[in-house]
Symmetry: D2
Subunit: 409 residues, 4 copies
């Protein structure tokens, strides 16, 4: 085992990764955790929840200056140039704070959208949209899910992208377009049916739609267990005869599913990495709380039932972490498709694990745990929503079950 091992894991991280992780960890301690309350207060105090608390832009500048920027980007010309396994411990670290990823320009849905543009975008698309996204000067949203259909089956998606001369016309109702309420959000990637006569997985396309295009109507912000997640928000958006030039189409007509696959693999595991971080922080908080409170004549930390909650949480986190790292390594080594079993597993495992650990932490914190005074309740809501986002658990389990059966029979 080489000296540059940075964790207790046998997974061998490069010295570079180790160095990044150390700096990132220090940055989180120095800047991010202390800013959390200020960030929340700033949102709570203002008349308009849809403004960016200044502390965020300040931190972004610091992070960029420190070279902790675009860490997710595997193209070293554009970002850190890390593979998934190397990015994993960094994403875990950022994920410990709900405002962490954005500081380092590594937050969803921008990361996925940048990947799409980087992999499938034209030079012009890259210049116009990828560059400012990488700069962190604009943000983006991804418009896929629709209120009227079970979007767990993406072939249900019914919005239309219709060729009309040199333009495409987009019509449809989308929701759960996360980040679309953000005042810095300038561009949407929209999925819709362009070629209804093609075979089932060749009917859809993805197209770029600038936020200020005529016919785009952001109807409202959806809430996640009461949280509006301002200033980013989850928007319901109406596209009413929205006309964009034909060069806004990404990759080509009927290639929407191909893009979605490329986008979702790493995206799913980025979420999982962050979930590990959230759960780990909840575990640490739970330990501290248990040590600081007394009931029935003894410290909570001396109670058998509390120790069990903590022991189980530690074991579950460690397993999910190892599965995440292993999945990252498989993607790096064998590609998204060969890693599909592992991706499906971790997509189901990590958010549920995080939910359980957060729930236990909330229980140990009592009333404080469900309140705005700690990150626990908000983090729980985030974890809960990930069990639905990018495909509900049931869809991943069904696919995984089918693949495993096929392998062994």
């Amino acid at each position: 085992m080489p000296d540059d091992r940075i964790t207790d894991l046998p997974f061998q991280f490069h010295a570079d990764t180790r160095e990044l992780l150390e700096r990132l960890t220090a940055f989180m301690q120095e800047h991010v955790y202390p800013a959390e309350q200020q960030y929340r207060d700033s949102l709570a105090a203002g008349d308009d929840r849809w403004q960016i608390p200044p502390v965020m832009e300040e931190m972004k500048k610091l992070a960029r200056d420190a070279g902790l920027w675009n860490l997710f980007m595997s193209d070293s010309a554009l970002g850190a140039g890390l593979d998934n396994l190397s990015y994993a411990p960094l994403a875990e670290q950022m994920g410990r704070s709900l405002i962490g990823a954005e500081v380092f320009n590594c937050s969803a849905p921008d990361t996925g959208n940048m990947e799409v543009l980087w992999r499938y975008g034209s030079e012009q698309q890259k210049k116009q949209w990828l560059e400012p996204l990488l700069e962190g000067t604009i943000r983006s949203a991804f418009c896929m899910t629709e209120p009227a259909v079970a979007s767990s089956d993406a072939t249900n998606i019914a919005a239309t992208i219709t060729r009309d001369g040199d333009s495409y016309i987009v019509n449809g109702q989308k929701w759960w377009s996360s980040g679309a309420m953000d005042p810095r959000c300038k561009i949407f990637i929209v999925m819709g049916i362009s070629n209804p006569d093609n075979s089932r997985h060749q009917q859809h396309s993805m197209i770029l739609v600038p936020v200020d295009t005529a016919g785009v109507d952001i109807i409202r912000a959806l809430t996640v267990f009461g949280y509006d997640d301002a200033p980013h928000g989850h928007a319901e958006i109406n596209f009413d005869n929205v006309r964009v030039t034909a060069d806004m189409l990404i990759l080509g007509e009927g290639r929407g599913f191909e893009i979605a696959q490329g986008r979702l693999g790493p995206g799913r595991i980025h979420h999982c990495m962050r979930m590990i971080g959230l759960a780990q922080r909840a575990l640490e908080s739970m330990c501290q709380r248990a040590s600081s409170r007394q009931a029935f004549g003894k410290s909570l930390s001396d109670m058998g039932s509390i120790r069990q909650l903590i022991a189980k949480s530690a074991a579950e986190i460690e397993q999910a972490r190892l599965l995440t790292l292993n999945t990252a390594a498989k993607i790096d080594h064998d590609g998204n498709k060969a890693a599909r079993n592992a991706i499906a597993m971790i997509k189901v495992v990590a958010p549920k694990m995080a939910q359980r650990v957060l729930d236990r932490a909330i229980q140990v914190f009592g009333g404080a745990g469900v309140s705005q005074d700690y990150f626990l309740a908000h983090a729980w809501a985030a974890a809960r929503s990930i069990r639905i986002a990018d495909g509900p658990d049931e869809v991943h389990l069904a696919a995984l079950g089918k693949w495993v059966i096929r392998e062994h029979s």
Copy 2:
């Protein structure tokens, strides 16, 4: 089995109860469910979330005129005069809507506070506070939990109630005083230490403190997950040398625990009854949603995994319902103390069951399930907080375990 059986249960409800339930069910259908969205919209639209949506007072008037009023009150001179078993199906029915109980003047914490005043209050206290509470013209809060100590062990409570001549002086910090943000809230029942030299369970008293007394400072509203539960709210309150006349003390010095016991028994099971109703409604919603959505070429209602979610939910609801009814019957027949095992069981079982069923329903609804468009996410947050309120699960399980061991060894 008599003809007046109103459910499929062997529990025999009186003809009176049956008649009340029928009318209550009709009232819910006709007035309450249709008003839910209007109630939410009214809160969302206003500048001030701490105002009562007019539809609530309209419904209250209708309910009172219909004789569906104070159904919880077992004293027939003051309310419906029902025992707990008879009240249970009514509370379940009201509990189906998060705004249901208030319509019938049956919502916490008023019900518990009215019970306290009815059982333990002086004639003057009854006249001044119980009467308007029964009228529904004022509301109340219960100030027990404190931010600085593990309130799961009520002997930790540190606020002080100190005799000073003809007055008591109240000092301390309370939180999770639910309903205290409500503009109609006029009176608090506060628990604190009055006799520090007494034995452990005789040190505390309860005292009435009018909201507008000098030194009472409502600091802020706590959130439950992202919900502020306006217009009632969960307040953090500072009591700084708050002086009230000595006749505001309830029952006598050092009798706080005695009152708390009397208050909590039925209160706990009222919560449970309502949880059954919420879960039952979630089950029904889940069935309807599953029937109306298609994915992967078939209705969700035809999928084995969805049917399992629904089947398990139905079985869990039915078991919790029977346990609630049985507990109610035991309280009625044998008293709070003899029923303590059953009360501890249902306190742990019902909210967890509701959480599970609501979680499954949310999963079936997908993104809609976590949003403001359905009652599911808000109901889940309510169920979650009940696993902490009135004693966390761990405390009840520890006590129950101790009692069961003692019985059998």
Copy 3:
């Protein structure tokens, strides 16, 4: 609540039931529990495990003399004449011992077979087989499940019952014919296809086959987690051109499913009642063990984690008991078909609950728990097998889910 209430339940048992339960409970204490070890030793010592330990026939005589006989039989001319709700607490009591039910001539599969003969048998069939079964002088088996097909779908059953002149010829392979190894077993009820051209649920018949008929070959005894369940056993049986007279057919050709439905409803809940008894006894044993053992300087009964196991077990038992009673009452009041949801629920709930409680008790007992020194491991195996017998959990959940969805959409 009347005076003759015998439990803490609101379910009102008749004075007659109460009196029976008292005598039955005393009989269990006096005769059955003390004989358990003797019964096991008798089997372990002999050369031949397929002989009845004499203590069993002694107890049967005592029980019969005491009027504790055929308690399951709802026809008061033939047995106790109790409805299901009245029988439930008696079956729970018998179920506390793995050898309990047989003592009172109330053990499966005889009870189900007697019900079949009583409901659907001809006068001659009753005289020849029902009478000695009711006397307890012979025993019987039920031959339904087959090794070659998924018998969870009973339409898969492939044995044939072919008319040939005045006879029927039975061919096929059966297994899990419980009790068929018992030396007192004289008669089989066999299910097979008689009318392959009928519609799906009218193809099968049931027929009586005496054990000593030519062509009947008991191949071997199956084990359940290592237990051969001697002296009753679970047989694999080959039927090779077994010829019986035509009057051995029960009810009529193609009516096998009709009989199976009538047989299985109450049979399923009898199993459940007994599971409640086993679990309750495990709970009591666990409490006693926890109180009598010390580790790490304190009694197991003072450990938080042990108290949780016990508290959860008590709550789960009580819920399953109430659901069983409620199901019994529904069957009595509304019939098997109207009670199908409740029957499916309890069939899934009770064995899983018993498994969990027994597993916890085993854990508290440590090595002793998995051994032959206590009833726990054997009882666990029995509970486990019931999750497969009479339809696996998955089949009941799927049906229940379908019915519940239909009700609410």
Copy 4:
């Protein structure tokens, strides 16, 4: 990632390990799986279950000739010379069959006992006992657990080892001495109190006691659920004034706990590795069964509920496997003590995981699953007993919880 990667894991196995695993896998296919039924039949047919089926000694010879022998032994002079991480995939492979480990002289308790002798034994002890154990000509047992005390707390152990001149006299009752019924078992390692006045963890010693010493009385074989685990067996043994020469004491008086710690670390993880193998084989069997059976008009493998069972199993196995590998790597890299959190985690996680997966497989197999026709039920019983052996789950969770709290507060 180097070319010699043998699994999809990022854990990098040496080329040597890879080669061993390939040959081992082939050996299992060619010799072990085909012999399983013969082994069982041989035991079932004989008059005496406590004889070794000849096929076992034949396989041992083949394995030894093939160099697949003492793979567990990290001393390359005595065995394969592998570290824990390299041994892990081999142990997993052997663990797929309940008779696998013995074939390669890698079965408990001999492996642990050989480790004790290798690490702590005198030259004479090694010559006399370690050598024939390594040869596979004799076997051994470990006598620690006692029926009269909660052995989960090893300080409860009450057997005595008393110095008397040049001898020690051993008195006490032991049980769960696995392998002690094996006709080849020649030596016991016995733990008992030698120095009652020492501090709590210095009171016990370990001593070698030849099976045929006067005063050693093997009372009976215990069963695990219904399995006697012949021909090895789990013995209850009485030591009545058993006198052995003083040089039979291992390491020194009062050093029993020190030896136990050294013995148990790797032993615990060997069990876990084998559990992974059992679970993996159960998963594969479940897939095959699901593919080969039809019910309700479709293959079980097409049912959503079955696919979920399989998907969840796959994800749980993979997580436990990664945690086992990681723990092995930690032990190798940092030592037993530094790896104690990970060891506690995997000791709790792996057997429970195996239980769940085996339980699901049993459910998919139906009646066949609980019977002697498949390895599933027996494997389940083995997994269940490991949740008690070497410390029950509760003890490991309590310790782990305490350590984790200490780290983070």
